[in-house]
């Protein structure tokens, strides 16, 4: 029997930052992002344990990353469904007056906050495509699988998503 704790640890260490960031950009709150990310990995862990138990009739996880993103997406959807919550978009970036180059720092922070804000305004598929491809460095092939689209359609979608993001920022 494989050392399941070790195997899970590897998956956790590899994807925790990506999953947290993915959730954080969708919900805009550290507290909720932490709750939903830990729930994502807990669900993964519970499934993983069953998938390697021959007595349980669970399919093996063949792509941990895709599986984790799918759990996270479902949890985010549940989160917004509950009590008809709407997205909280925060443009707060923490500008701390701790260096001489304060104006440059403030400009940099505000640029990033604008990108975050504009990203949050995109429709869900566009957001996912941009996060997965440009932020999480997933190849188009993987993004296409996650979006359940052809590679060509995914390329077109990425192009449109970037265009709309730029329009939102400008």
């Amino acid at each position: 029997m494989p050392n399941i704790k070790k195997e899970f640890s590897k998956v956790y260490d590899k994807y925790i930052e990506k999953i947290y960031r993915f959730v954080y950009f969708k919900v805009g709150s550290v507290e909720i992002a932490e709750d939903l990310s830990s729930e994502t990995f807990l669900k993964y862990w519970n499934y993983y344990k069953k998938s390697i138990d021959p007595e349980e009739n669970y399919e093996e996880i063949d792509n941990s990353q895709a599986f984790l993103y799918q759990i996270a997406r479902n949890l985010i959807a549940d989160h917004y469904r509950k009590e008809g919550r709407t997205r909280i978009v925060s443009t707060d970036d923490f500008v701390i007056p701790d260096d001489e180059d304060i104006h440059a720092k403030a400009k940099l922070d505000s640029d990033l906050a604008n990108v975050r804000f504009a990203l949050n305004k995109l429709k869900d598929d566009y957001q996912n495509a941009i996060i997965w491809h440009y932020l999480d460095d997933l190849p188009v092939k993987e993004v296409a699988k996650l979006l359940n689209k052809s590679e060509n359609n995914t390329r077109v979608m990425l192009h449109r998503a970037l265009k709309e993001l730029k329009r939102n920022i400008d």
Binding site: E31, E34, S90, F94, L119, L165
Partner: protein, 230 residues
């Protein structure tokens, strides 16, 4: 934003958004709690291991209480704060988060007095994080405890004045004001629907004035006053 490459570069800079390292480590431990026993149990008897773990956590817990942002034990304090908040009923969470923000200002006051300037920016950042969290919780909570929120917001205002008198500007994030303004708006809407005495109508007028002057704390105080006259 100039071109597509510039935009892609900016998107990639968002990689700087990372989870808190302590949270990452504690979450993994928590998930794996029901996993097969860890190796140290083989060379320590379970009872002794349990006692040692308890002692260790006890000591960390006690020392972490007095940690300030930048101290090595501060991440533990942060985890303890979050855990405490998660056990509170929803309506009490915003005021608890504001209490933590106020604690940061008290820490800030102490370090400014001691002229430990290297700690100022870290504490300010933690203060702003607490305020942002409080604002976000405040927006989500259906019926927040207004009395406690007013109390904490006033403490924060007083501490800010004390710190600014020592020459340090406490840069504010605007989320809290927005959240407070929404509470005031909601209360005003409800009061406008209620049948009020002349005295109460006069107070409602003052509430509107404070709201228009963006003095949301004062507006909330008057809302409490009006509530006490019912």
């Amino acid at each position: 934003m100039r071109g597509e490459n510039d935009l892609i570069q900016k998107i990639q800079e968002l990689k700087s958004v990372k989870p808190n390292a302590e949270w990452v480590s504690l979450t993994k431990k928590e998930i794996l709690r029901d996993a097969p026993k860890m190796s140290f149990s083989f060379f320590l008897k379970p009872a002794l291991a349990g006692t040692l773990t308890l002692c260790l956590f006890g000591s960390v817990f006690v020392f972490a209480q007095t940690a300030i942002p930048g101290d090595s034990l501060y991440p533990f304090k942060k985890v303890i704060e979050k855990t405490k908040i998660s056990f509170l009923p929803e309506e009490k969470r915003p005021s608890a988060q504001l209490e933590y923000a106020n604690d940061k200002l008290e820490d800030l006051f102490k370090v400014v007095e001691k002229k430990e300037t290297e700690k100022v920016s870290t504490i300010l950042k933690e203060y702003q994080l607490d305020i942002t969290e409080a604002a976000q919780v405040l927006v989500r909570v259906e019926k927040p405890d207004v009395e406690e929120i007013v109390d904490r917001a006033k403490k924060i205002e007083n501490n800010k004045k004390k710190i600014e008198a020592l020459g340090v500007k406490v840069q504010e994030v605007d989320g809290l004001d927005t959240a407070l303004s929404k509470i005031v708006e909601k209360e005003i809407e409800e009061l406008e629907k209620a049948s009020l005495s002349d005295d109460q109508k006069e107070i409602l007028e003052k509430i509107r004035e404070s709201y228009q002057n963006k003095d949301y704390c004062q507006a909330l105080e008057k809302i409490l006053l009006l509530g006490s006259k019912e």
